[in-house]
C-alpha cells in the first residue's frame, strides 16, 4: 500500500485543560473506507475536528498525502483533499440549496452540481429552498453534497445517519456504497454496526481518546462481542 492519504500519529488534543485524545492514531489509505466507532464522549468528533485543523493537537503529527500538516489552518487541511459532512449537518441555513453547493465548489474533479443532483434528486427538486427549510434527511444529503463539491479524496462523515428516518438512512447508506465503489476514501463515524460492516474495509474502535481495537470487517464480525463491548454503555 502506498503512503496513506491521512494519518494521525499519536495525537493528544482537547479543549483547554480538558484533554480528550491521548495518543490517538489513525490512517486512511486512498479508496479505503474506515469507520471510527466508540461510545459518546470517547473522542470521535474531537479526532475529526483535529484532523480538520479546528483543534490544534498538543502532541503527535498529522500527515496528509505524505506532508506534515500538524498545526496547519483548517482551510489548508481541507485544500489537501478532505471533505467534511459534519455532525449535526451544519448547512448554511440562509443560503439556498444551490448556493450551499456552489459556495463550497472547488477544484477540478468529478463532482459538479449536476452530478450531486443526480446523486440526490431530492436536492434538485429543492434547489431554490433555503437550507433551513429542508428536512433533516435533505439537510444531510446537502451536507454530503456540499462536501463532495470540494472534490475531496477523502470524505469524512460524522454521524451522517443520526436522527434520520430508517428509509432515509437506507438511502444514505446506498449512496455511501456507491461513492465507495467509485473509489472515494471515507472515514465514517456512526453507531450502526450492521450497516457499517458491509460498507467499510477497516474499523477503528476508540475509548477514552485512544484506539482499543482495530481490524477488518471480517475480524469485527468474528470478534464482535469483544469489539462491541467497547460500544455498549
Amino acid at each position: 500500500m502506498s503512503a496513506p492519504l491521512v494519518s494521525l500519529e499519536g495525537i493528544d488534543a482537547g479543549y483547554g485543560r480538558a484533554q480528550v485524545l491521548f495518543g490517538m492514531s489513525l490512517t486512511v489509505a486512498a479508496g479505503e473506507a474506515v469507520t471510527l466507532i466508540g461510545r459518546n464522549g470517547m473522542g470521535k468528533t474531537t479526532t475529526i475536528r483535529t484532523l480538520f485543523g479546528l483543534i490544534r493537537p498538543t502532541a503527535g503529527r498529522i500527515v496528509l498525502r505524505g506532508r506534515d500538516m500538524t498545526g496547519a489552518a483548517p482551510y489548508a487541511m481541507a485544500q489537501t483533499g478532505l471533505g467534511l459532512a459534519p455532525e449535526g449537518r451544519r448547512i448554511f441555513p440562509r443560503l439556498t440549496v444551490e448556493e450551499n453547493l456552489v459556495a463550497t465548489a472547488r477544484g477540478a474533479g468529478p463532482w459538479t452540481l449536476a452530478r450531486v443532483y443526480a446523486l440526490f434528486p431530492r436536492l434538485a427538486e429543492r434547489r431554490g429552498h433555503l437550507g433551513r427549510q429542508l428536512s433533516g434527511g435533505e439537510q444531510q444529503m446537502l451536507a454530503i453534497g456540499r462536501a463532495l463539491m470540494t472534490n475531496p479524496d477523502l470524505i469524512v462523515l460524522d454521524e451522517a445517519t443520526e436522527g434520520l428516518a430508517p428509509v432515509i438512512r437506507a438511502e444514505i447508506w446506498t449512496t455511501l456504497r456507491a461513492l465507495k465503489a467509485e473509489g472515494l476514501a471515507m472515514l465514517i463515524v456512526d453507531k450502526n454496526l450492521d450497516a457499517l460492516l458491509p460498507l467499510a474495509d477497516r474499523h477503528v474502535v476508540i475509548e477514552k481518546g485512544h484506539v482499543v481495537w482495530t481490524g477488518s470487517s471480517a475480524a469485527l464480525a468474528q470478534d464482535r462481542t469483544r469489539a462491541t463491548a467497547y460500544l455498549e454503555v
Binding site: M77, L84, F92, L95, T96, T104, R106, G128
Partner: protein, 322 residues
C-alpha cells in the same frame, strides 16, 4: 417540479435587483422633480442622501453580507474626503485621477487595519474598528497643515476630464446618483457570485467555511478593503458638496449613524441600506426644523423598528421578507 424550482432559484438575485432598480428610479425621479422646480435645497439634500446611502451601502456589505460590524466606517468616508482635500491642495482635482486615488488609499488603510481587526470577532472587532477610526480622526485633527480641528475649505470642486460636472447642484446630485447606482448594482451582483456566497457562508458558520477549504480571513479582508474604497468615493463627493472637509466627518457618532441606517433598512438587504439612509436623513431634516432634539425622534423610530422585530423598513416596500 424542476421548472418551478428553477424559477425559484432565480429569485434570490432578481428580487434585490428589482428593489435596487426601484430605489434608484425613485431617487432619480426626486432629483429631476427638484431640478424642474428649481429647488436648490432639495437638490443638494437629495445629493446628500445619495452620498450617505453609498456610504451606508458599503457598510451594509460588511454587516449584512460578511457579518463584520464595523463601528468606524465614517473614518473611511472622512479619509476619502481628506484625499480630495489634500490632493486638491496639490492640484489634483480631476475625478479620473482623484477617484482611483481615494479608492486605493482608503482601501489600503482599510486592509491594513482589517488585517489586525479581523483577528478578533464580535465585540472586540467592533472596538478595534472604532479604535482605528478614532486614530484616523485624531491624526486628521492634528494635521494643522490641512485645517486641523477646524477643517479646511476645498480648493475647488472636482472636474471630470476637465469638465466642471460637479459645479452645479444638479451635476453633483447626478454624480452622486451614478455612484450610488454603480455601488448598489455592483454589491447586489457581488452577493450572488461565488465570492459573495463564501462571504455569506462564512457569516453563517465560519468554521464550516474554513473546513470547506476557504481562507475566510482573506475573503473578509477583501470585503473590508472594497467597502472602504467605496466609502471613500462617497467621501470625495461629500467633500465636493460641502466644499469643506473637517475631522467631524470621521466622528464616531457618524459611524454609529451609518450602522443605524443599515439596521433600519434591514441589515441583509442592500437596497434597504439606501432606504435606511434616506429615512434617517429625512427624519433629521424634518425634525431638525422643529427641534434640536431631533435624535429623540430618530430614537423612537429605531425603538419602533426593533419592536417590529425583523419587519424592518424594507418590509414596507415590496414584499415582506420572511
Amino acid at each position: 417540479m424542476i421548472e418551478a424550482a428553477a424559477f425559484r432559484q432565480d429569485e434570490p438575485l432578481r428580487r434585490p435587483l428589482r428593489a435596487a432598480a426601484l430605489v434608484l428610479v425613485a431617487l432619480a425621479a426626486a432629483i429631476l422633480v427638484a431640478w424642474a422646480m428649481g429647488n436648490a435645497w432639495w437638490l443638494s439634500f437629495l445629493a446628500r442622501v445619495a452620498i450617505t446611502a453609498t456610504a451606508a451601502l458599503s457598510l451594509s456589505c460588511l454587516i449584512g453580507q460578511a457579518g463584520l460590524v464595523s463601528f468606524g466606517h465614517a473614518a473611511q468616508v472622512g479619509l476619502g474626503a481628506y484625499v480630495a482635500l489634500i490632493a486638491g491642495e496639490y492640484g489634483i482635482a480631476d475625478l479620473t485621477l482623484l477617484a482611483p486615488l481615494a479608492f486605493v488609499v482608503v482601501a489600503l488603510w482599510s486592509a491594513v487595519t482589517a488585517a489586525l481587526a479581523l483577528r478578533t470577532r464580535g465585540v472586540y472587532f467592533i472596538m478595534l474598528t472604532l479604535a482605528f477610526a478614532q486614530m484616523a480622526y485624531f491624526i486628521m485633527q492634528s494635521l494643522s497643515r490641512f485645517g486641523g480641528d477646524d477643517g479646511m475649505a476645498l480648493a475647488r470642486r472636482a472636474t471630470l476630464f476637465g469638465a466642471p460636472v460637479l459645479k452645479t447642484d444638479l451635476g453633483l446630485a447626478l454624480a452622486a446618483l451614478a455612484l450610488l447606482a454603480a455601488a448598489l448594482i455592483g454589491f447586489v451582483w457581488m452577493t450572488e457570485t461565488r465570492y459573495g456566497l463564501v462571504l455569506r457562508a462564512a457569516k453563517e458558520n465560519e468554521s464550516r467555511a474554513l473546513a470547506s477549504g476557504f481562507r475566510v480571513f482573506r475573503f473578509q479582508l477583501y470585503a473590508y478593503a472594497l467597502a472602504g474604497g467605496v466609502a471613500a468615493l462617497a467621501g470625495v463627493l461629500l467633500a465636493n458638496q460641502a466644499e469643506f472637509v473637517s475631522p467631524s466627518y470621521m466622528n464616531w457618532h457618524r459611524s454609529g449613524e451609518l450602522i443605524v441606517m443599515v439596521v433600519l433598512g434591514g441589515a441583509t438587504s442592500l437596497p434597504g441600506a439606501v432606504i435606511g439612509a434616506a429615512v434617517v436623513l429625512i427624519i433629521e431634516e424634518a425634525l431638525g426644523h422643529w427641534t434640536e432634539f431631533w435624535k429623540l425622534g430618530l430614537g423612537l423610530v429605531i425603538v419602533a423598528a426593533v419592536l417590529l422585530r425583523g419587519a424592518d423598513l424594507s418590509a414596507l416596500f415590496g414584499r415582506a421578507r420572511r
